[in-house]
Assembly symmetry: C2
Homo-oligomer: 591 residues x 2
């Protein structure tokens, strides 16, 4: 079956979690109205279904090849990218002063969901170009901006991010690539970078690499890293494409998933050095990178939502079609569609509820980013920024963890056919598996949440957020709708458990930070389900108010009665499970 | 790193869960003593590490090819199989009267774990041959036995199981393959079977297919299915290989994992009918098949343990080697092995604890099978049989669910490298993903547990088992060891939750069976963690008694304080989460 953009679900998330109506009324979104936003998302859905999805399976089968230093992307990739840029999709969220359409983060999230549902291996490319544009906007000189941004916005040129080196994945402090100043404002870059998505290809006329490297006199560690722009082709004074720069793709990785996305080993300066330009301040490259990575992390969370959504749609279609077994109490010997079996419906409801909860978390984060962007009052700006900072690791990790879970359930619903690649269900699992890893592993996200985000404003940011969840629960309890079942009680227990676990972690951060870190992963999961559950419940209240609440109530109630039931146990794990982890040192673990 | 057979862990499971010492003392295992058993397992470990593991990755890369009707298995496959049979491994669990070594189920489980840890795609073959031997032992005529068993036991000939047809996966009642009696004691078989593992290959001189089909006058549904033996090559009167039978491999599946195992579409009777012989009684083929499948289900559970074990060993080796990040409170800028990070140790402990709990469940089941086999007292035999019947769906499902989880954590521990196929971690996830599906999906196992196994002996079987778990908890609580942390309390709560959920399900089976089925999957998980947790705790008590309890205590405590914490929530889900599933009928689910 073909992908259907879940525009109603996206709007429910925008309204409930991103506070769309109030923010539109407050003028945050300028002259963008809801009808236009919906039209954009629907149009994206058409493009995804008609252009990107048809090449998805071929992309998976063929993968990419490195031929004489050139990367050959899968059949249809070049054409699809051309159509993508011609339709203006690459320009959508970009600054109008460089030719962009200036749509806000929420719109970019929504269309990003569509690209990645239709074809995640394709979606990786625009995601990274957006990241590079973002980094240049934050820190690039006017000259770099005017030289590169218009063509990156139009999509004629694409962008990459070059962080990882063979010996240093997550630990950027250890990176060794060198940048040697030439005295003319340029630098020569030397080094090897790995895991560079779309590091080399022929889809665009040029590739703008953003590369982390060290200056000769740079301090050790993360405070001695600078960011450089290194184009594949130099740019002539008139803006035309010039000579080839000293950067090559030395290899492609053979990966578990996203085969259509070339993952390159990039070598800079194999000859006399790749020519690069400093982006931002010397030795402060990580600052830019981190701002950009935060947004990229959210975009990866949305990739998780996207793959989970696609896996769910595929599994539901199969469950409605495939006949197997007779219904309990039904006519013996008459096979029914497997969706008639309660266990299959439990699986489908799990997929839907997890996916939609994750979507809520992502849009909640995107809404705060937009609010921060638009805010004129510095206090309001800071509050929104801090809220976004708090939610980003949760949105990234929860959404990508559930993407793997949901895709795996999707395989299971297909039975034996799920294990056959032609079916398409297995690809979602393979594709999804990178999501908890890249842009900072989910373990790192959990430590970011606990170590950096909980202490924001002395703990006031998380405190206010949990209070807000509590108000949501009160609203749900107050609505007192019979179709909500025991939802309110479950939510109350879950938010209570989150509060308790947060207090405990806060205390440990003072007294024994390693104990806080040892429980970071179950804490993040607890945060994700509690918040996700409240958003689903609030969406159910809103839908009931609008007179069309059956579906929203079902998802929220299912989530509360079947997934949120884990909350108390997770809080117990957070507060009581870390000691044995700490006591089991590496030598004891193997003994 | 090379696979290391976890012989101590296997013995811990044998002693704690399979009651090895008492059963050996009672003479159940004849003259097999513990030292011999350990030597067999260690020898198997050597064979696995030296012969099967070295061809595992190649098998994954090359997969199988169908060339002119012949299946070409991966490089080294034929040689490894030859070495396997020459070393006598195929004969290990087989009846001595046909040349086997007559080792018990527990020994077969242990070596099966080794084959599947070393190379699951290879391990599938012997597993199915064992199943076919088992079916012939149960129901084959003396003539069929004497003609086929000696060569199947020696491994010269291999066996297959042919159940699934394109339109009917789990629902065997719908199968359409036909068997036409020829009046001479033979039948002509016509039909297409799919998902036939090792249905065609050149590793053995002959392939003995066991095929489910219908006689012309057979009743509809599952009561009209007969079992036939259909050899690839007919056998001459002198026992030599005769003419090719009318059975061909018409295609190979392109699968997510176990690429080295050929998954065949088999066509019977494309010409004048494949010649076959009835196994057992007409129309009673499923009885034989189910007895055999029960044992095969346990063997699949062991495959889950095996893949989880291998994924854990790989991840631990990587975590000890890979340096990344400085230790919290350690010297900044000095990268430490990632095992020093608490979050990584939590992941490794999760892998180890889940794997070992699953192993306990599998060996508990195998022990009951052996006890039933050896029992002379009919009541004791029946009790052991029913205990095995109760535990089989739990052993199969829990072990295979955790195999996927553990393999996924293994990928995660490797970070970006985990997504690269060369690393080997991703293959475990791909291979493991079939396990919750084949030999009856885990959803079907859950329904089997709830619908067929809980009602055994009017509920007395499960009641006695849960009481026994309670005694185990009392023993653990009584040992009162400080290194156990809060283990006893967590176990008590978990076994209490299991008891409560079991009562609830038992009531619903009377009043509203569909409600019981709607909660079957979370109930099975609860059963698995509660039982697994008690076994781990009992193993810790035993190890402490033997003076070497540190590792066992760590695993048991970690499991209790971090995994068993889910028990109360699962019981809540079982008793309170099913209503919304039932109420959400197929039409409401999509709305």
């Amino acid at each position: 079956m073909t992908y259907q953009v879940p525009v109603d679900d996206i709007f429910a998330a925008l309204k409930t979690a991103a506070n769309l109506d109030a923010r539109m009324a407050a003028g945050i979104y300028g002259d963008l109205d809801a009808a236009t936003l919906r039209a954009v998302i629907e149009e994206a859905g058409k493009f995804g279904a008609e252009v990107l999805e048809p090449i998805n399976r071929e992309g998976d089968k063929h993968g990419c090849r490195l031929v004489d230093g050139k990367v050959v992307t899968p059949p249809g990739w070049n054409e699809a990218y051309k159509a993508f840029t011609e339709a203006g999709w690459s320009a959508l969220p970009c600054p109008p002063e460089y030719g962009g359409q200036g749509l806000p983060e929420i719109a970019q999230m929504a269309v990003g969901e569509v690209w990645n549902s239709s074809n995640m291996a394709f979606g990786v490319g625009p995601l990274l170009t957006q990241g590079a544009i973002h980094a240049l906007m934050i820190s690039g000189s006017d000259e770099l901006k005017s030289t590169y941004l218009p063509r990156m916005v139009s999509g004629e040129w694409t962008g990459t991010m070059n962080l990882t080196e063979p010996h240093a994945g997550s630990d950027l402090g250890e990176l060794r690539s060198k940048a040697v100043p030439q005295g003319d404002g340029t630098y020569r870059i030397f080094g090897t970078k790995i895991f560079i998505s779309y590091g080399e290809h022929e889809m665009s006329d040029n590739i703008v690499h953003l590369v982390l490297a060290r200056l000769p006199d740079a301090p050790q560690g993360t405070r001695g890293i600078s960011l450089f722009l290194v184009p594949k082709y130099l740019v002539n004074a008139d803006g035309s494409r010039g000579a080839r720069n000293d950067v090559v793709c030395a290899g492609l990785e053979h990966k578990l998933g996203i085969h259509g996305s070339p993952t390159c080993v990039m070598k800079y300066g194999e000859q006399d050095g790749a020519i690069g330009w400093l982006v931002g301040t010397e030795n402060r490259g990580l600052n830019t990178m981190f701002i950009m990575m935060n947004q990229a992390r959210l975009a990866v969370g949305v990739q998780g939502v996207a793959v989970a959504e696609r896996a769910t749609q595929r599994a539901e279609a199969y469950a409605r079609e495939r006949r197997q077994g007779s219904a309990l109490g039904g006519q013996p010997g008459v096979m029914v569609p497997i969706i008639e079996h309660a266990d299959i419906r439990r699986s489908l409801l799990t997929m839907k509820a997890l996916t939609h909860a994750a979507r809520m978390l992502c849009y909640a984060t995107a809404g705060e980013i937009d609010a921060a962007h638009a805010a004129t009052d510095p206090a309001a700006k800071q509050m929104a920024e801090m809220r976004a900072a708090l939610l980003t690791p949760v949105a990234k990790s929860f959404s990508t963890d559930i993407a793997v879970e949901v895709a795996s359930i999707g395989v299971q619903i297909h039975g034996g056919m799920g294990f056959i690649e032609e079916t398409g269900a297995a690809q979602h699992l393979r594709d999804a598996r990178i999501l908890p890893i890249y842009e900072g592993t989910n373990g790192i996200q959990a430590m970011d949440l606990v170590g950096r985000k909980l202490p924001l404003a002395g703990g006031a940011v998380v405190k206010a957020y949990i209070e807000e969840l509590g108000q949501g629960v009160a609203e749900i309890a107050g609505s007192n709708r019979p179709e909500f079942g025991t939802m309110a009680a479950k939510l109350q227990a879950a938010v209570g458990a989150l509060g308790k676990a947060t207090m405990w972690i806060g205390g440990k951060l003072q007294s024994n930070p390693e104990a806080a870190m040892a429980s970071a992963t179950p804490y993040l999961r607890l945060f994700g389900i509690a918040a996700g559950g409240v958003y689903l419940g609030r969406a159910a209240v809103a839908a009931a108010r609008d007179g069309d609440g059956a579906k929203a109530a079902t998802l929220a109630r299912f989530f509360a009665e079947n997934i949120l039931t884990a909350a108390a146990g997770l809080a117990e794990t957070v507060t009581g499970g870390g000691d044995v982890v700490l006591e089991t040192t590496a030598d004891k673990l193997g003994a």
